[in-house]
Symmetry: C2
């Protein structure tokens, strides 16, 4: 399995390695006759380009990294698909790693990318990432796009969704349906995304002359069980609440459970809006009205931006905020929505 080298191809074609290299990359001026001879030699020898040698010489590679905390989360899987597609379009290879929220794994991955001369990366940083991590990253001077989790550092490119607007849309929808006592359920501490959604929620209440009630804004882990618990406790204490914006669809599903357990009917005497538009949202009964955040599009945009950075685009850092969309289904009452997706 001795691999063919450029030199061998060159010898066979009776030209220099420089010529072969230029033919391979369509650079410089090569006469059609020579090119023909080279192509023939390439074909005959079954030459395989050695990207490693090229990378060494170029001090860079065609490889980019993607760091997530959990590819198993449908949202991130979608995003990955969008990014992957974009990378393939540009002949870039995509490294994938799951941090599982461990700073350690995250750091290891980034170090690994550096050792391999990756030409860029897309990061959804672990929740507890220290500032030093970002500082070090800046010093590396390698294109890095942050995604999904809002980052206060203005020196990084960011692609995410407009959580504030999304929450506004959800809240407005509920208010327009006549609700006045609206809760916000879900999300954990230290979540910038949650902060933004809560912000959109409360500001919309205020705009509509409603006073936010702090006790009606509660946290819940990203699970159905936890959403149900949070809702049960909340609703038993404040039965006057008639609607809720949920931090995530999965939490909303839990809230539905709690409602039923309390003898209330989601979609009839209680209105519910979720966030994410996960597959299940369309499946439950009543189908969940939710804010869709276009995961695939985030991946695509991040890929696009990263590519332009790799190409040398040195405009100031960008923040690409994708507009969310309210997908109206049945969980707030009203007529059944038509087919969606």
């Amino acid at each position: 399995m001795t691999s063919v080298t450029l030199a061998q191809v060159a010898q066979r074609a009776g030209v220099s390695t420089a010529t072969v290299s230029m033919v391979l990359r369509n650079r410089g001026r090569i006469s059609p006759a020579t090119r023909e001879r080279v192509l023939k030699a390439l074909d005959e020898t079954g030459y395989v380009y050695n990207q490693t040698a090229a990378n060494l010489r170029n001090r860079s590679s065609n490889q980019v990294g993607l760091l997530l905390h959990d590819i198993t989360n449908p949202f991130y899987a979608e995003m990955t698909a969008g990014l992957s597609h974009e990378m393939e379009r540009h002949e870039l290879l995509l490294f994938l790693a799951n941090s599982e929220e461990s700073e350690d794994r995250q750091q290891k991955f980034v170090d690994s990318l550096m050792r391999n001369s990756a030409c860029g990366m897309v990061l959804c940083a672990a929740r507890a990432t220290p500032a030093s991590f970002f500082a070090a990253l800046k010093r590396r001077n390698i294109p890095a796009i942050m995604v999904v989790r809002p980052l206060s550092d203005p020196d990084f490119d960011f692609v995410g969704t407009d959580n504030f607007l999304g929450a506004q849309m959800a809240t407005t929808h509920l208010i327009q349906l006549g609700h006045r006592n609206i809760a916000f359920i879900g999300g954990g501490a230290n979540s910038g995304t949650r902060a933004q959604r809560v912000g959109g929620f409360t500001s919309t209440l205020l705009e509509n002359d409603l006073t936010p009630v702090p006790e009606w804004i509660v946290m819940a882990q990203a699970s159905q069980i936890d959403g149900a618990k949070a809702a049960a406790s909340l609703l038993s204490r404040y039965p006057q609440i008639t609607a809720a914006v949920c931090y995530q669809d999965i939490v909303a599903l839990g809230v539905m459970q709690a409602l039923r357990a309390a003898g209330r009917k989601p979609g009839q005497d209680f209105a519910l809006v979720g966030f994410d538009d996960i597959t299940e949202a369309a499946l439950v009964q009543p189908a969940l009205t939710t804010v869709s955040v276009a995961a695939k599009e985030i991946g695509r945009k991040a890929g696009e931006l990263l590519y332009s950075r790799i190409q040398g685009n040195d405009e100031p850092p960008k923040r690409i905020i994708l507009p969310p969309a309210l997908v109206i289904r049945e969980s707030c009452g009203g007529p059944r929505a038509g087919v969606d997706r």
Copy 2:
């Protein structure tokens, strides 16, 4: 951003590059004193190992590829997580690509891996992959593990699940619950996986003195909508059917929809078993009884095997078939299952 080289570190430590290299990789005999000096110099200079140079020299890399058709499918996302975890354990980097069932993209990815001297790959080949693809792969002589989709070629390692057994378990479960008119819904033509599941289904019927009805074995794309359509058409024609084994959970979810639209109640007057145990299966109402194929475990096993091949394990090709498990929930009636997962 002039990067530090081994030579610079060596100079600073007053040793040769060979010594530094040996210290870095814990090879050869180095006196503690020298090692100390080298480590100090490494630290002081902020040296970053150049994996590319090492790869060039070694004619190989620490990078492996994973080819799927669709990372968006929860099953593959799980598998990816398992593989990714295993790769990180061994300090290997994972390239990800989605073929989207295109042979062309698939071929491009593999070519790309070759150019980059990847040290191995895990493939879930596109459905219409020609034999020539596999033949060429063999010639490359690079460790390659096939996953999930059954492959007749005995020259490749394979990790997958026992589809036949899984379908038998699902079917037996339905028969034990008293069902006699059972359908099989889902899967497409040219699917080896489907063939195995249908095989397990029909053989179990026969073992129980039931006659398979060909018209009750229908295809459906891997989507909820398509599952619903297939089921609607089937059930309107054969209302005597009281249970179904579904090719995938996602199809089962569609079938549930169709049942409701037809005024029937999944879990009460119709029993449903799915395949895959995707997250949604536990969330829908009624929660879906399904055959779990341990996607994460497939990824892990594939990673383990691949690593051993990379290490030089040249035993004959292996076929690792993981046992499926029936996860009983509510969609076949009976008492509510307890907590699962």
